[in-house]
Symmetry: D2
Subunit: 322 residues, 4 copies
């Protein structure tokens, strides 16, 4: 999806090379989008002088190493979330980024969703007065395959991490404490692997505002991603998009289409907006909109949530950050 955006929608960007452990896949993509080079490995990208910036969409456990190599090669960096599951590894990578003076952006695409962005701007512009309460609903269409859970870091670091970042972004205030109540209600197999699939997480913000996230790994009605911010001067909520806009009235009631089912459909504009922001930031030499620090914070909050659920008590984020 990033390559399509870069190739077709952003004339100021040029995709000069692509790599993938599955060489055939890289070749197929290159042909489809008319990309000049397919290189055998990541090192090949970094050696290419035409490459100004890299977009890292590899598995999480490779992110930090790729970031460090890119920094050393003086490339600007876009990296998918989470940077890593360990704060120490993340800090080490961010230190290298700073040391070599490159810029880095983390792939929290939801910040670029038209509705969420609009909500954030309203808060920032004071249109809601003082923000006092935040509600995020974030529910996946269906649970990940059992094999995925093991390496995912658990629901808080794999899924809720998006909500933690979104919460910080829209409220414009740090999360200082979390209380997570979690359960296994969807799939016992998830529980067997030590993870959870349902949760309610209370957030305390530095501003004094409170928030709550509710998560589930499964709905029967589509991908459910909503947000509500309540303030002294107003309230904004952002709803799901439906697959079409029909409304049927019959003897049983009135009926509408379901929310979009797939995260790629729901966040198609968000992915495009994210990549556009990266390209504009890189070409303009400006600060990139989602920093490595943002990536670090969201992992710390996720770790705090996990600790809270395990120890059945509220946990301050500073307890994790040290």
């Amino acid at each position: 999806v990033h390559i399509e955006t870069l190739s077709l929608r952003l004339p100021e960007a040029e995709v000069v090379a692509v790599t993938d452990p599955l060489q055939e896949e890289a070749t197929r993509i290159a042909a489809l989008y008319d990309i000049p080079s397919v290189v055998p490995d990541y090192a090949g990208l970094l050696e290419d002088d035409r490459v100004e910036a890299v977009v890292i969409c590899s598995p999480t456990d490779t992110h930090a190493a790729y970031i460090i190599k890119a920094a050393q090669a003086r490339k600007q960096i876009f990296c998918e979330k989470p940077i890593d599951l360990s704060l120490e590894v993340i800090r080490n990578a961010l230190d290298e980024v700073e040391k070599y003076g490159v810029r880095m952006m983390v792939g929290f695409n939801r910040r670029f969703d038209p509705g969420f962005k609009r909500a954030q701007r309203m808060v920032a512009a004071g249109k809601l007065g003082e923000p006092e309460l935040l509600r995020i609903t974030s529910r996946d269409s269906r649970p990940p395959p059992a094999g995925y859970i093991a390496g995912s870091g658990g629901m808080f670091l794999d899924m809720t991490i998006h909500d933690f970042d979104l919460a910080r972004y829209v409220m414009g205030s740090e999360i200082i404490e979390v209380y997570a109540r979690a359960a296994v209600l969807v799939d016992p197999e998830i529980g067997a692997q030590g993870d959870v699939d349902t949760a309610v997480i209370t957030l305390s913000f530095a501003s004094g505002a409170l928030g709550v996230i509710d998560n589930s790994r499964r709905t029967c009605y589509g991908y459910d991603q909503r947000l509500e911010i309540f303030g002294s001067g107003g309230m904004v909520r952002v709803e799901n998009c439906r697959t079409d806009t029909h409304e049927l009235f019959n003897e049983q009631g009135t009926h509408q289409a379901l929310p979009l089912d797939f995260f790629m459909d729901r966040y198609i504009e968000a992915y495009a907006g994210e990549m556009k922001a990266f390209v504009q930031g890189v070409t303009a030499g400006e600060r990139l909109p989602v920093s490595g620090e943002d990536g670090l914070r969201s992992v710390a909050i996720g770790l705090a949530a996990g600790k809270s659920a395990a120890e059945h008590r509220p946990v301050e984020v500073s307890e994790i950050l040290g």
Copy 2:
């Protein structure tokens, strides 16, 4: 419903007497609402010096005679629509009203519906710029009993008359021409009695604006009463109320409650507002908000619509009014 409003919601009004051809019904109502007098007939009301104003809810063919008697007795008058099915009879009654210097209000309750009233105020306040298009949807839950059709004056004078009045009210401009295309799609019995049950009626306003009403005598999903006004500076639409505000999401789609099914439920606030306006106008000695002329016009437009459907051509209202 009018007596309940007058008795319980309007402390400035007092219901001093009631009459009904069914004496028992009058007695029951009087007991329920604590009304001092039950009189045997209409003349009894007019003789009562405590009676300042009458509310006429009798069958249409008695309206004109009751209006004239009330005018002669110097009572202020509220009369349900339509005043009569004949323009000549209406004109005669209005002449008497004028001659005796009493005031009169016709029962077009929809003008007092909170949504429709708000739409009218937006037009009057210029919030839509120049009004250019009007759409009214007006569909009954179920057709009237066969026996009712004969004395009803036909769908245009019985049902659409409300829409004609609403159209004049919200647009603030006279209807000068109508084109009615009608059909019998709901109940052949209605057709057998020479009436129609489905129609699309184009309206031309003196202002140059255009409008359209669509009617049906039956829905399977509740009483359907909506309106939309489109202007150079904005568009307003007024929707139905639902029986409750739940929304269910499941594998089949999302589902909400139906519109309110019964006109008494839908227009409960409109009936109260109408009676309040009558009482306030009477006690303040002010002009009443729906005039006898309004009653006359709506009948003329209804007659023009009937003629248009019968002769399959647009008909100017002036052709009917003479």
Copy 3:
């Protein structure tokens, strides 16, 4: 509001006597609704043999005593919430109710709101599969006067108590633990009196489901009362009613009316339904739909929430109930 329902909407009920410390108010009400007797005090009601049941709408600290006297006089009892702020006092009153074999209903009107009732029925009928998550938003239009706070028992016992009862009702499962995070964001005067005005409360149900309530004592956009239940087979949410159904489209966006601002408007049908259920239960000799035990439980949960907020930890309801 209860007298109006009983007098006008429930022909099977008769209001035979009324009392109020403000004798003039009692007299005014009796005149308006045609009630035969005005008695000087509560004892006068209980002595009246025509009185089968009492409706207690007095201040909270009088409830228990009035309940006990009614039980001793063998009257059926409707009592507004909360029964009392002390579990011991409540238990004592309930013991008397049981001892004298009378029936009692507590005034949790929201159970009779058409939307909430429908949601409850969906859960009970299995239409949502297993209920897994509950969200209640409950925000008052404006904070109570400062003088009211002192005797109110605090926000959890005065306001959230409705939400606790609603949560138990719709989920069909007991609340076994609460975690309340509260703040003073609306009015420092509320804080000065030791109360809070904003809260997020996590609920754990015996079924394993989780829930969350968010509260505020003030909105700028009307009374905000919503609910959402998420289950394995579907999700239902119940929205606010708006003051009218218009939607305006102009250059700035699209605009609709606000939610109803006043709890009497929002819950007008709920109050009527509640009284109807009481009268039907009394006349049919059936179990009443909101029991004294329900009244006890909601107070216990409110006390647990207060303790949780004060001690900054999750609190089991059994810790309070003993």
Copy 4:
């Protein structure tokens, strides 16, 4: 937009050549989408043996000639609407298409809009019972430039033609009579060129159903494209999409985003679906979903509407078709 769909979204299609009177534009497009050949003129396309089908997006007055040449060259044809403004010219082109045994599809993209398509399927599946009333609202964001009007054939043939086709499509019944009431309310310059910019058009269907289209050449709130079908067994309506899904509540009311403003945004999925249907039909050798006859009918109805407005009377479509 068609080239993007064909190049990127339809792997079974290959764009082998492109032409445009503006050679530079053709070259730019070819580079962007990696199209092998840029040919200097239309004849060049037809000579290319690799070309199985042509997509004609040229000005209306060139359509018929291009269709005929494509038919003679045995290419399958996709042609944008309207085929031509003259029934005779259209018939001549369709005769050639038939003579050479090629297939042809007309570009009525709205049939492929997810909402409209769903409505059509509901009618076809009998989910609405007998369709009785149709309402289409079709309002452009802004009027075309003055220079465009002259060659456009007038509003009915340029803009309403989409609505006529959509009406026939969703109702599954022929339009047999139209009554058009039109006005110049938006821009006097349009009137000076003999065209209209606002209209209400009554439709009579062969099935007995009635319909109405309302048109305006300008809104201040975005592109407004809605449809409603009312039947004996239900009603379906299709609404606009908004630019995002936020809803703001503040003291003034509640506020949402506007409908998508640009037809390309609104119908992005429809354009893709249309092209997909063409490619599938061509490759499978099946009947194409929008026939030349459909193209002819919509023009005939547009001509009937023009005649109706000019002569101020209902006009049967058979009067135009001969």
